[in-house]
Symmetry: C2
Subunit: 278 residues, 2 copies
């Protein structure tokens, strides 16, 4: 395998029906060297077991998904979210994850105060940054497609994520560049250049139309939709990113397909649409 | 009725099952003074009849929807789109519309070249602007929610629409500020201030969750979703906008409701969520 080939990583949510054990074994069987983990399947087997398995596998952990959900106003819920994020940092450290992905969260129930929610997300990141640093974990702010602004992620552009991240040293708070979330952003190539060493994760998935009825599951396999993966990848490479490339696809059809087949397809698409530009 | 109350306008697509005649009569019956027209129902009765009806009604025509669909690369299709847009300008002039709304169009079939499509949209607007000026029609570029970037509108932010519009005098090329499309845009209030006299239409509709299965029909009645209408309206007013406020809602449930009931609901929501900030 080429060096670039070795950078392909399976984000666990792409094979959502696999347990952690199955995902590790499937990743190894497909000849990949990296995996993006989710906290829920890790919790199913327990952190100690999970980190043992990951170490034994020799796989890199390209990311841990996810911390965040910062936007509530209610003090008890804020405290509980903060504590949950402290645990997520510890888990990321224990698993040796390159970054802890932070999904900012949407508007609180009944609220229309988007600037307020965005401000609370930035404040919460400021509270977490020193703890993450102590644990040697780099936080990765994930800007999310505006389709999710109300109910999942109030940080909507890479520019906005960088405005938050740049208040911290680059080795403490970075950004996640996900093609599905950012492909439409005017000037995104300049923002990727601006991000430079702050890019802690490059996630790929396509924007397909018609959009599936459940918008949470609306991501497509690279090449099935409208995103220019060569252009995106060239920009990320030009910005200096040398990390793994995670395939993260939430899609009911992909989930209904046997995992090994999904890994074969994503490896093929990666080889054709991404690898040559790394 | 207060002066602000008189600024409420029914965009015809909100009562999509009404013919032009029914929409004019329904608008008058609801005590409104303004209507936003669509070309298709106008064409059904013919331009001459439509403009006679509108003049006799005494209603203002807050906008004509829509020109645009600029993004094809194929020369014949480009020429045909251009000719269609010339007709749209003539229709807007004949109907006395405040603006011709331009929907830029999505990516051409099979293309992933978003910057190319955006450049072609800007070029096409440059070709139309002198013709519109001759006819006394102001073009209104409509930035569209990124949910439509692939298949309907490649201009995704107000900032981007202004970057295009500012190449022309403000009385030739303006922008449409639609809450549904722009509510998530970081810094949108500053962009509204920047737009100032270029705001040629203020359209309102809510962002609702869960998003309906057909995303084209995903707009909600003001107050049913996540948008801060007072804040948006304050910004538009502060920018100097004194035109009509068009309710444009594509939604299967709204379309299944009798038109008079829809107008009663939208008038009520307008009175509570918008009018006090005009």
């Amino acid at each position: 395998m080429s060096g670039a080939r070795q950078r392909l990583s399976l984000n666990q949510r792409t094979t959502a029906n696999w347990s952690l054990r199955e995902a590790i074994d499937g990743t190894l069987a497909a000849g990949l060297e990296s995996i993006g983990l989710w906290r829920e399947p890790v919790a199913e087997v327990g952190l100690a077991t999970a980190s043992d398995w990951v170490r034994e596998s020799g796989l890199r952990v390209s990311s841990l998904c996810r911390g965040g959900f910062f936007t509530t106003e209610e003090p008890d819920a804020r405290r509980s979210a903060h504590e949950n994020n402290l645990r997520a940092i510890e888990e990321a450290a224990e698993l040796g994850a390159v970054t802890l992905v932070l999904v900012p969260g949407g508007l609180p129930e009944g609220s229309t105060d988007l600037p307020g929610a965005r401000a609370r997300a930035a404040e919460a990141i400021a509270e977490l940054a020193p703890v993450a640093k102590q644990h040697g974990v780099v936080l990765g702010i994930e800007p999310m497609n505006p389709i999710f602004a109300a109910d999942r992620g109030v940080v909507s552009t890479l520019a906005q994520a960088l405005d938050i991240a740049e208040a911290f040293p680059a080795d403490e708070v970075g950004v996640v560049v996900d093609t599905f979330h950012l492909w439409w952003e005017p000037g995104v190539e300049q923002q990727i250049a601006r991000a430079a060493e702050r890019i802690v994760s490059y996630q790929i998935g396509d924007w397909i139309t018609p959009l599936p009825a459940d918008t949470l599951l609306s991501r497509g396999m690279m090449g099935d939709g409208h995103i220019d993966f060569p252009a995106f990848t060239r920009a990320v490479t030009a910005a200096g990113y040398r990390g793994d490339v995670e395939v993260e696809i939430f899609n009911a059809d992909v989930w209904a397909t046997p995992g090994a087949e999904v890994l074969a397809t994503m490896s093929d698409r990666y080889r054709r649409l991404v690898e040559p530009w790394l």
